[in-house]
Symmetry: C2
Subunit: 367 residues, 2 copies
DNA sequence: AAACGGTATGTTATCGTTAACCTACCGTGG
DNA sequence: CCACGGTAGGTTAACGATAACATACCGTTT
């Protein structure tokens, strides 16, 4: 009895061996309908012996669902995206769905490819956590219009039938900047403006708002990006953006006394640039990051940053998506914005003083 | 003419609109067979108007291939895995395959779930880059036996019909340790032994070999793991392992003068523990990591580490897999081990002296 | 004894696409 | 004028699983 690995085993093969019809095998495998105990056991035994593996294509085709969800992220190495995906997976797993992740490397073209690929393979729904762009938004709208359930995370794009989860980054940026202002800083730089996003970046708008509200002038030369060569920007290259941007700021005649970076990687790059220049943090320059990635509490000095409830954003997006998959696909958009939380560490306040800052404002968390 | 997003558009729908048969539509969409130019254009126009999306399930079912490859990784946030996946994607994309990534969170159970999920959905092949375990190896063997092309990366498991790509970590561990020995260190610790892997970890064996070869005693108390609570170990928790392990070593009466960490995250944790203890690196304790993740050149001090050609491992695994998918699935195993390269930075040699170390051994790279 | 509901199967048709085969037309070269 | 090869398309039958329906047998209940 030689194995013939050429042709995969089908229900019909098992049925022949077990002297029943394929339908009975199907029932036995899925536990649906009536099957005599002995029959079921015989069928399952044969299936195991023949190393049967169900054909998800045929199954999905007939059942019109694959119990599969796709997630598109821009950078697989980004701890923020990683944490999102954990939240997503937690929820999906409880409901028996598999998660397939597609990486777009922050390119709009590959974003679209990922959408298409997932839609073609009839994922039951798609979670999108990449940066928005005109072309990808358009394709996304087509998908949603054609009935594919979609849930967006932190994506600046709204559609009446796509759910949306995000963090209140405007407020986060505002609080980060206010924290620096409260510490007495007046010349505060911003690192991480990119060409395509321009000024729409919410955490940057929060920075502007805080500056304006406290009557501080916003100097254009204190607002820097990276080299802006390409849009491709994995984690470690945003770190370069931070390094280069900080280097630019350090060359100014009147350099800033504090900087707010678009994310923690960028902030880490800035930390390095400052240290290379022989300056002290936070005494000479204070630094605030964004995201509170795990590494933020392990840099030296540890990094003051803004934490967004990352895993919760993932799990909420998944819950929204499942509700849409299993309910009405045309139901109105669900939307949820999570509050951010300032986490004060040594990059803005010397270790010894951290405690007192906390007491002055109970809103602030200390790590 | 209202849209009916309920039922997705099929070839038959387009055929009706364009006054041809579904077969002609199929030919027009795929560019196969003869189709009159005008017909093709009419068909394509109708398809676009109707927002047609091909059904990959039906297509895959009929064609017996999905042009899809699955990849299983243990930790999505691990830059090493990220870089592997980039290598994989590069190659797959050139050949028109999509990549779906499944994350197992370093759990054997979820490893198996990922395999099953990918096999069920009839991925044309699977790339596995998770840690080996008994149960997952068994399931993997079943899959391979049933004809699914599988390509393994850095996984200590061999099968006659599964290709294997890895780095020569034995040699890497040997060279890292030898480097420390050459610098005059005699008491060298190892951080990162885990309960399940035990002593099979190749880079640890390299450590042992180097110590023995140079006549240095291997002291059991210098070999530490982390808290070993769970097997789940994303990047930042291996960092904790490094911190905790180093803390243990620092409490010894006679502490080591150098440590070799199982990977860069672990090494970063060790760096932090040493700095917290007020000791200098490398003067008091030298540290070597493994993997050369992007952050390794941005820590302070920068991290001496062992670089493995990561992206190449990914692309080679993908090439092996494609060869198997498109050729004979029963072809004998291809196997390739990549050489590692010691990268000397400040955590073992003070910045000023790095140059001279390089000259004494042209094998060593300087970053 | 007929009717009924529960149990255990078998039959048929279909999901959407495409490989394989078949038909038919056209112009051209022998 | 016919055979032939190229072109343009249609027809049929799967791919593998399962929903929907049909069958058949049992033991009860009325």
């Amino acid at each position: 009895m030689k194995k013939q690995p050429k042709k995969p085993v089908t229900l019909a093969d098992i049925a022949a061996q077990a002297a029943v019809t394929p339908m009975t095998v199907s029932r036995a495998m899925n536990g649906t309908g009536y099957v005599h105990v002995e029959t079921r056991e015989r069928v399952l035994r044969v299936a195991r012996e023949m190393n049967y593996r169900r054909n998800g294509l045929a199954r999905g085709l007939k059942r019109q669902c694959t119990e599969t969800v796709g997630m598109v992220i821009g950078d697989i190495a980004n701890p923020f995206a990683a944490e999102l995906s954990r939240g997503v997976r937690e929820v999906l797993e409880q409901h028996g769905y598999s998660l397939f992740i597609c990486v777009s490397e922050h390119s709009a073209k590959e974003d679209i490819q990922a959408f298409d690929s997932l839609a073609d393979h009839r994922a039951d729904g798609i979670i999108v956590a990449t940066r928005a762009s005109k072309s990808s938004n358009e394709r996304l709208a087509e998908l949603i219009d054609s009935g594919v359930p979609v849930s967006l995370i932190g994506r600046d794009f709204r559609h009446p039938h796509a759910d949306l989860v995000m963090a209140d980054n405007l407020k986060g940026g505002y609080e980060a900047t206010s924290h620096l202002i409260a510490l007495g800083h007046k010349r505060i730089g911003f690192i991480g403006i990119s060409l395509t996003e321009g000024l729409r970046l919410k955490r940057f708008q929060g920075y502007l708002e805080a500056m304006n509200e406290h009557g501080l002038p916003v100097e254009e030369q204190l607002i820097v990006g990276g080299r802006n060569i390409s849009e491709q920007m994995p984690g470690y290259s945003t770190e370069e953006m931070g390094y280069d941007g900080m280097a630019k700021l350090l060359q100014l005649k009147r350099r800033p006394t504090a900087v707010f970076a678009r994310n923690d990687y960028t902030a880490m790059g800035a930390l390095n640039a400052i240290k290379r220049a022989g300056l002290r943090i936070p005494e000479d320059i204070a630094v605030v990051g964004y995201d509170d990635i795990p590494l933020a509490s392990h840099t030296s000095p540890t990094l003051t940053t803004v934490r967004q409830p990352t895993r919760e954003q993932g799990s909420t997006a998944a819950e929204f998506l499942l509700r849409r998959i299993e309910g009405d696909r045309e139901q109105p958009r669900a939307e949820k914005a999570f509050d951010c939380e300032l986490v004060v560490r040594e990059s803005t306040v010397p270790a010894a003083q951290v405690q007192s800052v906390q007491n002055s404002n109970p809103q602030i968390a200390i790590a």
